[in-house]
Amino acid sequence: MILSNIAILDAIERGALKIEHLAGRDPSASPFNTTAVDLQLGTEILVPKSDQPLALDLRKKGISSFLHQHSTTYRISEDQPFTLRKGTFVLGNTMEKVGFPLLTDEQCYSGRVEGKSSLARCGILVHFTAPTIHAGFTGTITLEMINLSENDFLLYPGMFVCQLIVEEVKGYPTGAPNQFIGQTKPAGVIK
């Protein structure tokens, strides 16, 4: 079930959901929508380096550091936005930190990040394959951004760039669910 603006605010005030800067806000005003909350673009844009041919291998040790070393970070501001060229892929993140705590005595929630129609009309994708924010996650939301239009697009920090939909999780997400028993790769329990 998708939470309404009122239910989102209620979950925040009960401590069952965290979305920075929203506690005590008016749920009938921005950044609330009826069934979502708009989130803002943060101040960093990461651009993968293209200076050498390489094949990414997620099984390789140290892959997380490797990805860091092979990207360039741009800090953006009102005076210095990032120009997202057509056909270009970058990573951004939300300004707001969110948290979906696993509480045994409270309702658990998960989320989905979706684009906004305003950016969609300009050909901007803010995610294309990983919208789910699973129960138990804490942090800012990483955005996979691509410009599919024929024009460049300016990215400013603080612009409302995506919307977060919050959903109830039925039951407590315990470990070792049946479908994972005995499975070690690629997404099961590793013994």
Binding site: S64, T104, H134, G136, T142, A176, I190, K191
Partner: protein
Amino acid sequence: MKMGAQVWIPCRISEGMFSNEYAVEIPLPSGEVLSLYVDKSLVRGSGDNGELLVSVVDSGLHEGERTVLLPGESLQGPRWIRLPERDLASA
């Protein structure tokens, strides 16, 4: 440690892609290593002596081992991992 408890597990910490995150690597008893990016608030220590805050998500069904849930998806896929109970430190 009851289900839902927050515990620290050993990890190796390095710089993340964004300034508000770290990259962490978790060595598993099998010899495999899982890596993921996590918010800085979920990590303590540094370098090879780091610790990552995770949730216990089983009720102690496996003697000497506990299943914990990583705070985000690992680059290798799994989010549930089973670790020796002695590697878990109460938060």
